[in-house]
Amino acid sequence: MTPVTSVEGKAYPFGRKNVDTDVIIPAHYLKTITRAGLGRGAFETVRAEPGNVFEDPAYAGAPILIAGDNFGCGSSREHAAWALGDMGVKAVIAPSYSDIFSGNAFKNGIVAVVLPQEAIDRLLEVAKDNPITVDLESMSVTTPFQDRFSFEMDPFRRDCLINGLDEIGLTMAREEKIGAYEAVMAAERAWL
């Protein structure tokens, strides 16, 4: 995973609530056996709406997406995170995420920042015409107008993101512990 310490640039001022993963990437794009190229299907139904932020040249290639509550709800499809990554999004800012999506985003090096709705409202306003910055070192989102919104993040996830750590590799290094657990279970719950 590529290390990420900060994400700076334009942000899609999307702001919508309950954005489900069928909206982020419709099912007909899921018949792929690779992780690449899903950006072309991202937000397909939203892109069909007049005046949407994704077709607006002002935000083309923006690395940040600002959304409403419960972003990424619904299906567990990691294709949603791959699609966001493929369209160049490296950070999402929202008041809340579905549990599965926030895990998927993290595993693909996408920073999922949680900020209260008031902060989101302000950022949606600023992002219309200005860049914003998400900084993982200081755990803050800042604007050119001296706004500064601090956020919290699980220390393990932050560490993995900043250092680009491979979680599977880290777990495989715990082989001894896993083997010991299996040995105990083979005796105690042999029916498994």
Binding site: D20, G74, I178
Partner: protein, 479 residues
């Protein structure tokens, strides 16, 4: 003395391999279901890193999502090709990956093939007190048997394949208690729609739900599977139900369930799992069975629930301005006007199937309505898609296929079908579907498709009248 614990706490504690200083735990995974859509990239990752599947014996692969539900064999018994090249490639990938990594594989024409969440319980692969995962959010379904079951992304699929573990933080617990006795014509689907309507689509985020109360206790295992299945539509990754005598009777004798002495040992442990009397949940939500009617959705979020006797809501009636905006957008997409009686809304498509409602009891309930009636003239497509080959065979043994076919329904091969529009079964743009599936999202059943989530009996009722219908009108008055 040990602290009183919930069912969730007990399963969690029994699976901690290692606890880190920050509270994150390495959790052992007992069961892993794999399907064609969310696994190819995981197997590719293993290959690229030169990694093996740690416990192929705890892993079971079945194709379901993009498999067409039309005939799979020709008259001579040969496999028919899959027309869509991408689907064919994805299915071929699973068919190749399973043996390459030593994983048990139920192929597309095996009698046991079906939707992963139907196959797992049916085969006895799903057991109480286990941790069970699958790259699919409706994995929550297996919670009905007392398994801590949840959907995972593809990176996590790869993590489980490689290590048989996941790094997790303990969730909060929410008790959803439904007490009382369900009214005439009210079933498990109505119960879960009522729950989601009450807690909202994000109400369970960060929580694991445990369903309790007399309604849940009185419910059959198949009914419980419907209720647990949709926990994710209320935001909760898992929806547990304490294992009881019904659970044990359901599992006893299933092909992958323990038998003999192993069964007795397992049973003794399973009986220790229910939540202790003094245990405390982080949040408690209660519903009274008498408040639950035959229900359905009107909008594009599973929380948009109304009784069938209700009307399309006015967006201005919602207190939250963002909900008002969402409702306006939903109604525009759904082509509905506030104040319209739900029962006056015509439908062109009927889907009876999906991991929520494709088991034998679901088909029996739908057939009871379809018997002796006929699909209405304005209905263009009415599909009945059994959840597995075994469900299909059972239904055929009971003559349910004849009832459906004579009534004008199509009787299909098992699979996810019209639930998610990634196989040939789709709802055409602008058309409406009474569907027993779990999601009414924009475009879920096809671009521009309009979904109303209903129970199997309500879907059959809509099929024969051509409009959304109160199933009680067709069941007649209660005796």
């Amino acid at each position: 003395m040990t602290q009183p614990r919930t069912l969730y706490d007990k399963i969690w504690d029994a699976h901690v391999v290692e606890k880190r200083d920050d509270g994150t735990c390495l959790i052992y995974i007992d069961r892993h279901l794999v399907h064609e859509v969310t696994s190819p990239q995981a197997f590719e990752g293993l290959r690229a890193a030169g990694r093996k599947v740690r416990r192929p014996d705890l892993t079971l692969a079945v194709p379901d999502h993009n498999l067409p539900t039309t005939a799979r064999l020709d008259a001579a018994g040969h496999r028919l090709p899959i027309a869509d090249p991408e689907s064919a490639q994805q299915l071929a990938a699973l068919e190749a990956n399973a043996p390459a990594f030593g994983i048990r594989y139920i192929d597309a024409v095996a009698p046991e093939q079906g939707i992963v969440h139907v196959v797992g319980p049916e085969q006895g692969f799903t057991l109480p007190g286990t941790t069970l995962v699958c790259g699919d959010s409706h994995t929550a379904a297996h919670g009905a048997l007392g398994a801590l079951a949840f959907g995972i992304g593809t990176s996590e699929v790869e993590h489980v394949l490689a290590t048989q573990t996941l790094l997790l933080k303990q969730s909060k617990t929410m008790e959803v208690r439904v007490d009382g006795t369900l009214g005439f014509g009210v079933g498990p689907k109505d119960v879960i729609l009522a729950i989601i309507g009450k807690i909202g689509a994000a109400g369970g985020t960060g929580y694991v739900i445990e369903y309790t109360g007399s309604v849940i206790r009185d419910m059959s295992i198949e009914g419980r599977l419907t209720v647990s299945n949709m926990a994710i539509e209320g935001g909760a990754r898992s929806g547990l139900i304490a294992p009881d005598e019904k659970t044990f009777a359901y599992l006893n004798g299933r092909p992958m369930a323990p038998s003999g002495e192993a069964w007795e040992k397992a049973l003794a442990w399973w009986k220790t799992l229910p939540t202790d009397a003094q245990a405390v949940y982080d949040r408690v939500v209660t519903l009274d069975a008498t408040d639950i009617s035959p229900s359905l959705t009107w909008g594009t979020s599973p929380e948009d629930v109304v009784p069938i006797t209700g009307v399309v809501p006015d967006p201005e009636s919602f207190a939250d301005p963002s909900k008002q905006a969402a409702a306006r957008k939903s109604l525009d997409y759904m082509g509905l006007t506030p104040g319209t009686r739900m029962q006056d809304v015509e439908v062109q498509n009927i889907f009876i199937g999906s991991c929520t409602n494709s088991r034998i009891e679901d088909l029996r309930q739908a057939a009871a309505i379809a018997r002796g009636r006929h699909v209405a003239g304005n209905v263009r497509q009415a599909l009945v898609v059994p959840g597995s080959g075994l469900v299909k065979r059972q239904a055929e043994a009971e003559g349910l296929d004849r009832i459906f076919i004579e009534a004008g329904f199509e009787w299909r091969e098992p699979g996810c079908s019209m639930c998610l529009a990634m196989n040939p079964d789709k709802v055409p743009a602008g058309e409406r579907c009474a569907s027993t599936s779990n999601r009414n999202f924009v475009g879920r059943q096809g671009p521009g498709a309009r979904t109303h989530l209903v129970s199997p009996a309500m879907a059959a009722a809509a099929a024969v009248t051509g409009r959304l219908t109160d199933v009680r009108d067709l069941l007649g008055e209660a005796a």
